[in-house]
Symmetry: C3
Subunit: 348 residues, 3 copies
């Protein structure tokens, strides 16, 4: 069990201490469940009542909330409490140390350059001409196709698949079951039959990107599909071929992005969004969960679609009205400024 004096943790996050700097911390806990010996954090006003009654030995918080925290609890006073918590939680994360070397059951292709500090797990299969950088860790059961290039300090968790010609920057983390570089979905319809369009591009994932479990990223048709620096993708996301995701953009689970769409930097997508293909989303766009985007968005800001649920009987009645909305509205529209022409422009 990892143990630290509060004073040591304070140094790590550049915090001011109020209370017992010598108290020993051996783990983290939520405000509601932490017990003596644990450190907690206060970041969400919703949990203010828990702050007042917490049993934690120490709490990370902003100056302004010190007064709400029991006197006998030590305080680490910071300006960004969630970020400080993230750093401190890292101290107590009990991850297996990387074991450099190639496990006996791994199968390595020809012409590979695998750094001696990299870790290649049991039953991993690596194709020909692959480069693996320093301290990169490839867990059991992964497949890495021909001519892939992995930077340093990457981590592929178990059962990840990289097709051929996938390039990872440094510190890229890929959760289990993710598939990177699968064929883009391109078919030419000719003489009553679908013909596969060869997908000749690869995938480029830049530094510090994270890819979630069972997420899929297709290879480009001609050029690479590109995931920018510090992009964070949650689980079960589909990224179509030729998509380009700008740096620092973050997406929650179950989102799907169709081919050739470009997202700007610092976008935030809630869960279950749907983006059409061949559109462009500006920097800083926020899509709330389940938003469906059919056309380009040129201006930053928050956008939404979808409907939140209601009692089934009520929904059913409204839905019937919706089906006749246009017809019902017609008589009342004469004296309003709704431009009929918008119909054509609006919902392509």
């Amino acid at each position: 069990m990892i143990k630290k004096k509060l004073a040591e943790l304070a140094v790590l996050v550049e915090a001011k201490i109020e209370g017992d700097a010598e108290v020993i911390i051996s783990g983290v806990g939520s405000l509601a469940s932490a017990h003596s010996g644990q450190i907690s954090f206060f970041d969400n006003l919703k949990y203010r009542s828990f702050l007042k009654t917490t049993q934690a030995s120490a709490v990370i918080l902003k100056e302004a909330y010190v007064k709400d925290c029991p006197v006998n609890v030590a305080k680490l006073i910071v300006t960004d409490s969630y970020y400080a918590y993230a750093k401190i939680a890292g101290v107590f994360e009990d991850l297996k140390p990387i074991v450099p070397g190639i496990q006996a059951t791994a199968v390595i292709g020809e012409g590979c350059h695998i750094d001696s500090t990299a870790s290649i797990g049991a039953h991993v299969v690596i194709g020909d001409g692959v480069t693996v950088g320093a301290r990169t860790c490839i867990d059991p059961g992964c497949y890495v196709g021909d001519r892939c290039v992995l930077g340093s300090d990457c981590h592929l968790w178990s059962n990840v698949t990289l097709y051929h010609q996938v390039t990872l920057g440094n510190r890229v983390m890929i959760q289990s079951g993710a598939v990177i570089g699968s064929d883009g979905f391109g078919f030419a319809f000719h003489a009553g039959v679908w013909h596969r369009v060869p997908q000749l591009g690869g995938v480029l994932i830049q530094d510090d990107a994270d890819i979630g479990a069972n997420t899929t990223i297709d290879r480009g048709a001609i050029e690479d599909t590109v995931i920018g620096q510090d992009v964070k993708l949650d689980n079960l996301i589909q990224i179509g071929h030729n998509v380009r995701v700008g740096d620092h953009t973050i997406m929650a689970g179950c989102t799907g992005i169709a081919g050739s769409t470009e997202l700007g930097k610092y976008c935030m997508l809630g869960g279950g969004c749907r983006l059409a293909g061949h559109i462009k989303i500006a920097d800083g766009v926020i899509l709330t969960g389940t938003a469906s985007v059919m056309k380009s968005i040129a201006e930053k800001g928050m956008y939404s679609s979808g409907m939140s649920c209601m009692k089934h009987s009520e929904w059913k009645r409204n839905m019937v009205r919706f089906r006749h909305l246009d017809q019902m509205m017609k008589p009342f529209l004469k004296n309003q400024n709704i431009n009929e022409k918008e119909k054509e422009d609006d919902t392509e």
Copy 2:
């Protein structure tokens, strides 16, 4: 080929027989396609016409429908025909018997306790300090991380991934490609960059739960993510970190549940539902397919959102009206009891 006398099957499901108790049954079939030697069942009124013309040798049904079934077809009369069918189908399920022992190509870590009756398939990789209970079957290609605890009679189909510190009760079944214990999606934004928040909890899956193919369940941030007893999850479902799913709750495919949300017991979710994070759903809530839930639901009952499809041209016209719904409504609302204040409360 498995063969049973109808009388034997009747004992299994405590049925009354009408007709030839000695008829030999060698398999099951649907009412429409069953042939002589097969048993079928009648449970859905939609298929009543097939009951009248079925070629099955026997049919499982309720007393009330005996009169609709041909005289020459034997009847197993029960009170719950679908449940009786489930038990009888089990007789004819030709699953491979579990082969106890550890296949030569499996790689087992240090300090594991693997019951001698458990079955560990080819190319399985098991980490350190893992416990595997009696008759639990881990199929080829699975990965089981450090300190996992698997109860007895569990079944992991091929290519399942359990991260470290995942706990399964007894009789838990996990379909192929599922990923349990992947990192929760937690990042702290600081100085223009996303910082990973270590996910220190695990996942607890309780007795008799079933997890579908390619479903993902994230590990908790601090405490465990919890899947209750007898919970049934279909394929391609995403369960965020810290979620708690109550006992006997069932979810159809493609549903996504964001972090820290709690579902009660005996809930039923149709396919493709979306639940926001940090909300609470009462026991016995039914969500119809594609329902999107943004706020807590305190009362049991059926809830819906989403829109069923219509001809594209019609949809397009209605959609234009929807975009101007607020604007169009204003002039007509003066004499109605729609409280403007609701705007603020209603669609957070």
Copy 3:
């Protein structure tokens, strides 16, 4: 690097050449990015400006657009430019040749018939009684269950799972992470507990079908789940048990189809569609992305549902109105021809 004279490519696609038939082509590029030595294609009017300034050495296009293409660029004149491009791109696709034989680390069950020209990769596990046809390629980490039958010229990319009793026709391609034949989602509720209904059918995937990465197809309850000839499924699609997908139907990513639904031939589904169970979709139906289908569709044509996004503030206002649509409409409906009875029929 593969190099071809333009004249050779022209023969392949039966094109008329305008310009230098002797120019050497060593790859493909988009109109915007192609450089000297590459061939491009013009198929989408949106990119007309790029045609005028392309640096490609040759362009595939229709007769009508020759005048828009620079004089110094050679032209391959065809009637179907995207199909011609697909064939030419295939010339430059640098896929690893199939290596016949069984890798040493593969584990093969008893009673299998594996064609001598088939390729079985590292760490593949094949069950008992499996048939693998000529030139079929099973990549590393795949699992193929008992009694599966794979035709000739199939390709399973890495980490694909086929449960027992899955049948593939010829030229079936399955992308990584796909799971075929997982248990259908069938449970009988009895005495407060869910009881598994054994899923006794298999899965049949017919000639020339393509299955996307991490897509899941459940086995049938009694009869097989059937994917027709030339069906193209993108990534992260869920196909429930007993579903039948007609020949040449194509589906974009993230679509989910509930059990026992039948789709006709030549249907096209955009991304993220949701289809209820036990319904029937006619031949030639087009569903736009995110369409949700609750009832059968008997007539071919284009159908839609869902809502495209708008500014959050605007959406919020409209959404409030939607919640009261039925109530608001009542006073205005007396003099309109909206049949109240439709309520009952329309939104089951």
